[in-house]
Every structure is written in structure tokens, then in C-alpha cells.
């Protein structure tokens, strides 16, 4: 009998008949590889559990308390940072409305519409300026430079997507 079925028996941990066991025994006596396969299986099966040093649960309680404290601190600093950076931006955005706060409701509505128009016209002006700039740049820049620019943007986008995915994914096995 060839080597292959014996290796398959050993790897698949097949239940063998007494006759097959005898054949395997004979084969293993002459095949160093199958002997090693059998021996490693026996060692794997006889391997024991390794326990950590005493007091693991107590150490974990300390670790958990430290991590909870660190999380609370991080959230606290996050909130402070958000307030420091977010509030001035909010005030700047709302300043046209706030300046007319004591005025009548109609003045409020007028300032809201003016503010909306300002935002829309600013975006339009910026897009038109961008278009003009691109047309000018097309004339100046050779195609290979465009290729580099597009590749760089694609690379940055990919990096950004991967970063978002890594930070937001749930750990595997959970």
C-alpha cells in the first residue's frame, strides 16, 4: 500500500478497523514522516493547560479599574476639546443671527435668509473659481503631473477609508 492513505488516516483522525490499524502500524515502522505525524499528534493530545501566576483575577480587577478611569479621563478631555473648538465656530456661525437677537421676528427671518444666500453664493463663487483654476492649470500642467496628483488623491482616499474602517470596526470574535 502506498504512503498517501496512511497520511490521510493520520491527518483526518479516521476511525480504523483492526486490519487497518495493523497496516498503519506496519507502515509507521518504516516511514519516518508518518512516525513524526503520529508522535506530534500524541504530544499535542498530551499537552497540558498552563495557568497564570496566582492572583490573575485580582490583577484584572485593578486593570479594569485603571482602564475605566483612563476612559473617563479621555472622554472628559474630548468634551473639553469639543467645547473649546466647537463653541467659537458655533458663535461665528450664529453671529449674524445673534446680533439681531433683540430685533423683531421679521428681522430674524430676513437675517436668516440673508445668511442662507451668503452661504449659497460663497459656495457658487468658490466652485466657479475652482473651475477657472482647473482650466488654467490644464494648460500649464503636463499629463504625467495630473496622473501623479490623481494617484495621490486616490492613495489618500484609500488611506482615509482604511483608517475609518480600522477605527470603527468591531473586534473580530466579539
Amino acid at each position: 500500500m502506498k504512503h498517501q492513505p496512511f497520511e490521510e488516516w493520520l491527518l483526518n483522525e479516521t476511525s480504523l478497523t483492526p486490519e487497518q490499524k495493523r497496516e498503519l502500524d506496519l507502515h509507521v515502522r518504516s516511514c519516518v514522516y508518518c512516525s513524526a505525524l503520529l508522535e506530534t499528534e500524541m504530544v499535542l493530545r498530551s499537552a497540558r493547560m498552563i495557568a497564570p501566576a496566582e492572583g490573575f483575577a485580582a490583577r484584572f480587577r485593578v486593570y479594569l479599574a485603571e482602564r475605566k478611569l483612563a476612559d473617563r479621563r479621555r472622554r472628559g478631555w474630548g468634551a473639553v476639546l469639543f467645547l473649546i473648538t466647537g463653541l467659537p465656530v458655533l458663535f461665528w456661525l450664529l453671529s449674524p443671527l445673534l446680533s439681531r437677537f433683540p430685533a423683531s421676528p421679521s428681522a430674524w427671518i430676513v437675517s436668516l435668509v440673508e445668511w442662507g444666500i451668503f452661504i449659497v453664493t460663497t459656495v457658487q463663487a468658490m466652485s466657479q473659481a475652482g473651475e477657472v483654476l482647473l482650466k488654467v492649470l490644464f494648460g500649464f500642467m503636463p499629463p504625467f503631473v495630473w496622473l501623479i496628483v490623481v494617484s495621490a488623491f486616490a492613495g489618500i482616499s484609500l488611506l482615509w477609508s482604511v483608517s475609518i474602517w480600522r477605527f470603527t470596526r468591531v473586534p473580530q470574535g466579539v
Binding site: 498552563i50 473586534p171 473580530q172 470574535g173
Partner: protein, 201 residues
């Protein structure tokens, strides 16, 4: 309902005491898995702590119909695989199993005579060193299959693999181990001692 299920439900409701009971029950299997995966007791301790922390944080998402131990070991295996992938290009040593220091073998109730025990210990040490040569996912599959008696289906569920992928990884890992085992004979091993003298089936 078993005590374990009660503790899991209580822990999901925010009881740290109940979670401490779960840590008490599972710290040995989790540590052993991390130790077999990472090869160092210090790294295994850190990984085991991190595993329990992750399970604590994700307890609300745990499905109580699934065995808690399998879920926990799955977190540990994935964490160790990630850790090994990150450390791929850094060299780190593997401890030899020791009865002194930070790690302890659990006592064997059926301990045979000292000579046989010594040979077995040498073989286990050698196997432990050879494990580090395997791919991290193959190693995890092998450890779950042989140390924890997981079925191939359970290994597949734990490692997010298909059953056929688990089979193929287990075969590859065992072939690699056997190859290394025959290449590097155990020092001091008697040449007349044959593995096949102990029946496998």
C-alpha cells in the same frame, strides 16, 4: 439555568461581581490559549487581560445562546492573531515551559513515573518551540482543536473560517510540525523509542 449563564446575564446587566466570577472560571483556559499563541508568559498575561477587557466591553452584544467559553476563546484567538501579525517583523523569544516563575502546569492526576514524565515534558517543550514556526491562524486552529477539543465546526466558528478552510489549515499545520519534528530529533531521545509503540486509535 446554570451558574455561568446567571453570571453572564448579571454581568450584562452591569454586575462587576458576576463578571469577576467569570474571570475566575475562565482565566486559565484564556491564559493557556494566549500562552500557546504568543509563547511568552508576560505577553500571554497581557493578552489574557486584554481579552477579558474586550469581553467586558462587548458583553451587551454577546448572544447568550452561544457558549460563553467559545466566545471568550474566540476573542482571545483573534486578539493574539492580530498581535502576531503586528509583530511579524519583530523577533521575540519563546519561553520554555517552566514549573518556576510566572507560569505553572496544572497538576496531572494520573502522573506516571518520573522518567516518562521527564521525556514527555521535553517533548512538550519542543512542541511549544516548534509552534512558533507556524502561521498564526494555523497555530490558533491547532491549539483550539487539540488543547480545547474543539470540533472543526467550533474552530471554524471561533476563527471566522469555513470548515474546509479549518481542515486544510489543520492538515498544513500538522504536516509542518511533523516535518520539523523529523528534521530536528529530540536531544537525548533514545533511537529505539518508537512513537508508534503507543496505539493512536
Amino acid at each position: 439555568m446554570s451558574d455561568e449563564k446567571v453570571w453572564v446575564i448579571q454581568a450584562q446587566q452591569g454586575s462587576d461581581e458576576a463578571f469577576a466570577q467569570l474571570v475566575e472560571i475562565y482565566h486559565k483556559p484564556v491564559f493557556n490559549l494566549c500562552y500557546r499563541m504568543l509563547g511568552e508568559s508576560e505577553a500571554a498575561e497581557d493578552a489574557a487581560q486584554e481579552t477579558f477587557l474586550r469581553s467586558y466591553q462587548n458583553l451587551p452584544r454577546y448572544d447568550v445562546s452561544r457558549p460563553f467559553g467559545t466566545w471568550l476563546l474566540s476573542i482571545a484567538a483573534h486578539y493574539c492573531i492580530d498581535l502576531l501579525r503586528r509583530k511579524k517583523f519583530t523577533i521575540f523569544s519563546m519561553d520554555v515551559e517552566t514549573d518556576e516563575g510566572a507560569t505553572f502546569e496544572l497538576p496531572d492526576a494520573s502522573a506516571p513515573d518520573p522518567e516518562t514524565e521527564s521525556v514527555k515534558k521535553e517533548q512538550r517543550d519542543r512542541l511549544h518551540l516548534l509552534l512558533k514556526e507556524l502561521d498564526s491562524t494555523d497555530r490558533a486552529a491547532l491549539v483550539l482543536r487539540y488543547w480545547y477539543d474543539f470540533s472543526e465546526v467550533e474552530v471554524a466558528q471561533s476563527l471566522n473560517l469555513t470548515v474546509s478552510a479549518v481542515k486544510s489549515r489543520l492538515h498544513r499545520a500538522r504536516r509542518a510540525l511533523a516535518g520539523m519534528w523529523q528534521k530536528e530529533p529530540m536531544p537525548g531521545m533514545q533511537p529505539e523509542r518508537r512513537a508508534y509503540e503507543t496505539p493512536a486509535f
